[in-house]
């Protein structure tokens, strides 16, 4: 039954060892084949990528309009000149992103927990959270920004701030927290009902049950989805520029209005990509690690 591990592949990690008996005597050989195909596959992928990218770059650079494109979008001079302002604006984007994300994760969780409370006594709270989620998931962020960022300060209510930065972050939080609450809720619903029964049977209150038994498991289940939201928010902070907040996109636009050159936008693009690609890889890494931890990965 046991494949000849000594002569075959290196010692299998626990996840693989468990899967091996199912494949019977041929377990060692199919894994070996898969390994070879993997190495050849990587080579094919590499060659194909080099050829494809090479052809694409050659086509672009050899086209008649390339000098114009370069002048408008990839002008080193303009890049250098716009860079400090765009970078300065980008730091503001990062700050808004961090503050908003913390508030979103906290507020979203609160809304989700309230929506998950059971019993007639909590009906008003549940209803409130449903209305909030429906409302703010249904309105485009841009519209929320206009309504809160321009509309509220125009009312000139006493004691209400009229700083566009404040209303910009508030709009992002309100919109994203509604989505995030639903992500959390799907996590809460994914925890088996028997866990709730086990916690309640110990005498824990409904609140304690959520706090100590359900929510910790729920969050673990939805971390990839939360990280995805993180990546998305990291770009959407740029929307706050419509309120005149001088973040990266706004700075780029100011530069463009002055010089009629779009290279400043490319500078902003580079910054946003530099920030979002590591976040995306982090998401991939975490998801893979979780799957391995749960023993779902065989090879």
């Amino acid at each position: 039954m046991t494949p000849d591990i000594g002569s075959g592949p290196p010692p299998a990690p626990p996840g693989r060892a468990r899967a091996a008996p199912q494949s019977g005597g041929g377990g060692a050989s199919w894994r070996h084949e898969l390994g070879e195909e993997g190495a050849r596959g990587a080579l094919i992928a590499f060659v194909a990528t080099v050829v494809f990218v090479g052809v694409a770059v050659w086509l672009v650079l050899s086209s008649d309009t390339w000098p114009d494109v370069q002048q408008q979008f990839f002008n080193p001079e303009d890049f250098r000149e716009s860079w400090p302002d765009v970078l300065g604006g980008f730091w503001l984007d990062i700050k808004m992103f961090v503050i908003a994300e913390v508030l979103i994760l906290a507020f979203g969780l609160l809304v989700a927990v309230v929506r998950s409370l059971r019993g007639p006594a909590f009906f008003p709270l549940r209803a409130l959270s449903v209305i909030y989620i429906d409302l703010f998931r249904g309105i485009p962020i841009l519209l929320i920004l206009f309504l809160l960022g321009f509309g509220v300060p125009a009312l000139q209510l006493p004691g209400v701030p009229n700083d566009p930065l404040f209303w910009g972050v508030t709009s992002l939080v309100l919109s994203y927290a509604a989505y995030t609450a639903e992500v959390y809720r799907s996590g809460i619903d994914s925890v088996h009902e028997s866990q709730r029964a086990a916690a309640r049977s110990l005498g824990l209150t409904q609140w304690q049950t959520l706090r100590f038994a359900i929510v910790p498991q729920a969050i673990r289940n939805v971390v990839p989805a939360l990280l995805n939201g993180l990546v998305s928010l990291q770009k959407d902070v740029a929307l706050v520029s419509v309120l005149g907040v001088r973040e990266a996109v706004r700075e780029a636009e100011i530069y463009k209005s002055r010089t009629f050159n779009y290279t400043s936008f490319v500078a902003a693009t580079v910054l946003f990509l530099l920030a979002s690609i590591p976040l995306a890889r982090l998401t991939d890494w975490y998801t893979r690690r979780e799957r391995q931890r749960r023993g779902q990965v065989v090879a």
Binding site: S194, A199, L202, G203, L204, F212
Partner: protein
């Protein structure tokens, strides 16, 4: 210690009805358990054994009927279910340990959060119980590192660590590989010998015969027949009981 039939019952269930939508599960269950008594509920799947246990622990509200614990009403309106659950432990068929907590944290969660026992004291007591159940070297492991038998013993430890007056066991060996059943039954046998009042739903007829003071055969949501194990398992009066036991014997479970 054995049950004392002359003392008033610790648990008294009278006329309990329970339906899930159109599906009637319990229709008038009566049951009495003496202090230190061990009552086994037997019967075919779907006869209401699990539902009855969940009703006693107030995990399911009753449609009608009354449940009393030590002479006090614990069912119906105006009852603090959390306070009742402190006095009644339950162990589930599929263990239901919390996968994100170590064995020790699983066992101390109730005492620490419900009865506000200080952490050190709760852990000391938990280690004591886990040691007794042969899990002394598993306290820091997570449930998914344990065998089914070890998980179920940890679940029993979690249920009894707060010294409940009554322990409910819901087919606690049904999800186990046959070779792991024994270690769990040993733990339960020890608890019975220690005087723990228990109600068990079980398919282990041999075990029921050994530890139970009383065996109740449930059929279609009622206690059809009850009595000492020797009588119910050897000489059942009801045709339905005979039929059920014949099937159990054919399956090699008695």
């Amino acid at each position: 210690m054995t049950a004392d039939p002359t003392s008033p019952p610790l648990l008294k269930v009278s006329g309990v009805h329970k339906s899930f939508g159109a599906k009637v599960v319990l229709q008038g269950v009566d049951l009495e358990v003496a202090p230190h008594g061990v009552v086994c509920l037997i019967g075919p799947s779907g006869c209401g054994k699990s539902t009855l246990l969940r009703c006693i622990n107030l995990l399911e509200p009753l449609d009608a009927g009354l449940i009393e614990l030590d002479g006090e009403r614990i069912s119906g309106k105006g009852i603090n279910a959390n306070a009742v659950r402190r006095r009644v432990g339950i162990v589930f068929q599929s263990f239901n340990l919390f996968p994100h907590l170590s064995v020790l944290d699983n066992v101390t969660l109730g005492p620490r959060r419900v009865r506000k026992v200080p952490r050190r004291q709760a852990e000391e007591r938990a280690r004591e119980v886990l040691d007794r159940f042969g899990l002394g070297d598993k306290v820091d492991d997570y449930p998914d590192r344990l065998s089914g038998g070890q998980q179920q013993r940890a679940a029993i430890a979690r249920a009894i660590v707060g010294d409940p007056e009554l322990l409910l066991l819901d087919e606690v060996t049904s999800a186990l590989d046959p070779e792991l059943v024994g270690e769990v039954l040993t733990v339960i046998r020890d608890l019975a010998a220690g005087g723990m009042t228990m109600v068990l739903a079980t398919h282990e007829m041999g075990f029921a015969r050994d530890v139970a003071d009383q065996v109740c055969f449930l059929h279609e949501g009622r206690v059809l027949e009850a009595g000492p194990p020797a009588q119910i398992l050897k000489d059942p009066q009801e045709a339905r009981t005979r039929q059920f036991l014949a099937r159990v014997i054919a399956a090699g479970r008695l």
